[in-house]
């Protein structure tokens, strides 16, 4: 277990910054899916490595929290290991890899396979909070589009997919309508995870450090993935099962095993995969 470093304030950030973030979070929860601007601070790692998520986590974490950090579903990849160790150092809180034991889960680009429960908080690291940004470069204009709930541009983008490929080819960062009002980016989670956002019992918080925006989806809030009547939203399905645990309904990573093109598919969620294997060993 990593020792708390007492030279830093609890959670690294100073109290004024935490208060600013906290006030922003309360407004974000009150206006689901709306992007609240905040004064993003310089963090001890570069933008693009989860500074938004880290600042949110730092402003909400407390001594009794149990923190889990995942990167693409895995607890043991560079980003996850470093962020988990960072918080262990600057707060001294307990950390875990088990989804069910965590009160606070910071994530890069996945939602755990294990169903979340009431009282848990997910913190998403978001590179680009504005779903309309690739379609409209101006912040002034995108603010107007949100104000007027004018989301036709996004429908055109999805329609162009259908015109070119015969189906909506967008497979991650798939835009959602939150509470029937604001179009939001779910962060680059695979669209496989989008249904987990809808009426989740957990509170979902999103932080974008470089873009200086935060937003939220409260528990039990309708989150609808955009679609058309004749092209309803659907998640991807694969013929493969996980090579380690045999799960057929989790999100899989492709692993290249040699230069001859051999590969295998394993669960992206390392905690879920481990739990499945433990379960099977118990039964065997």
């Amino acid at each position: 277990m990593t020792e708390r470093q007492w030279q830093y304030n609890f959670g690294f950030l100073d109290e004024n910054t935490k208060r600013m973030l906290r006030r922003g979070l309360l407004k974000a929860v009150a206006i689901p899916g709306y992007q609240v601007p905040f004064g993003s601070r310089e963090m001890p790692l570069p933008y693009g490595w989860g500074t938004g998520g880290i600042q949110l986590t730092a402003s909400i974490i407390g001594k009794s929290d149990v923190l889990k950090v995942i990167d693409q579903g895995a607890d043991d990849t560079t980003n996850a290991v470093n962020i988990r160790r960072f918080f262990a150092r600057v707060t001294g809180v307990a950390t875990t890899t088990r989804t069910a034991d965590a009160t606070l889960i910071q994530t890069r680009h996945r939602i755990p396979e294990t169903a979340l429960c009431e009282g848990q908080i997910m913190v998403f690291q978001v590179p680009e909070p504005e779903p309309l940004r690739t379609l409209e470069a101006s912040e002034v204009e995108t603010r107007k589009l949100h104000a007027h709930q004018e989301y036709g541009l996004m429908h055109v983008k999805l329609y162009e997919d259908i015109a070119r490929f015969g189906h909506v080819a967008t497979s991650y960062d798939y835009p959602v309508l939150v509470n029937g009002r604001y179009l939001a980016s779910p962060s680059p989670i695979p669209k496989f995870d989008n249904p987990k956002l809808d009426r989740s019992p957990a509170l979902m918080l999103f932080g974008a450090g470089r873009e200086k925006r935060l937003y939220a989806i409260p528990p039990y809030t309708a989150v609808e993935s955009l679609a058309f009547e004749d092209h309803p939203f659907a998640v991807q399905r694969w013929p493969h099962v996980c090579a380690l645990c045999g799960s057929g309904d989790s999100y899989l990573d492709e692993i290249i095993t040699d230069d001859a093109g051999h590969r295998l598919f394993v669960c992206s969620d390392s905690d879920y995969c481990q739990a499945q294997r433990t379960l099977q060993e118990g039964m065997a």
């Binding site: 709306y34 009426r199 409260p218």
Partner: protein
């Protein structure tokens, strides 16, 4: 004379904030305030905890008339900026018995920035379950709720506030050491 604030400023503010976040994420469900500072004359312990957690020199606060030592203590602990009138305030604290300013006159944000809106901290006498039925984000189906000591037409005004979404104000109701959140998304049915 100055009154003391939180015993452990960092931890107590964090725990109070989590209680606030819970309250707004699960509207009309009671959250306990786990760390209470000593009460200030004219102000409940819960209100003091929320002010120490939310207020600093970056936001403006409207207060009803309060004893001088209360104001001096709050100014010392938070560095607050007092708003001259309710319409300009980011936060408003309404102590028990303070008349409610019409919600429609408070800061409701703009179309592009609905977050630039007021948050009301309202002291009430007690919570009950028999005034209204709420629904909306954070409420699985519906939730029964009531608060003794709210102004008579509060729920009526709240319906108008909800109808302005995404503009509007948000409220936290405080009964001593327990709070309930009322974000603008909460739809209220009377009866």
């Amino acid at each position: 004379m100055l009154h003391p604030a939180f015993k452990h400023p960092v931890d107590d503010a964090q725990q109070t904030f989590r209680s606030l976040l819970d309250a707004l994420a699960q509207p009309l469900r009671l959250s306990a305030l786990p760390c209470l500072p000593p009460a200030l004359p004219g102000l409940s312990r819960g209100s003091a905890a929320l002010l120490y957690t939310l207020i600093d020199r970056d936001v403006s606060l409207w207060l009803p008339s309060l004893p001088d030592d209360t104001l001096a203590s709050l100014r010392f602990h938070t560095g607050m900026n007092l708003a001259a009138n309710p319409a300009e305030a980011d936060f408003l604290l309404l102590t028990a018995g303070t008349p409610l300013p019409p919600l429609s006159t408070l800061k409701a944000g703009s179309d592009a920035y609905p977050d630039r809106s007021a948050t009301l901290l309202i002291e009430i006498e007690a919570f009950n379950q028999d005034q209204v039925i709420g629904s909306g984000p954070g409420i699985p189906h519906t939730r029964r709720f009531g608060a003794d000591g709210l102004p008579g037409d509060f729920w009526h005004q709240w319906q108008a506030n909800h109808a302005r979404f995404p503009l509007g104000v948000d409220a936290i109701l405080i009964a001593d050491d327990r709070i309930a959140g009322l974000p603008r998304t909460t739809r209220i049915q009377e009866g």
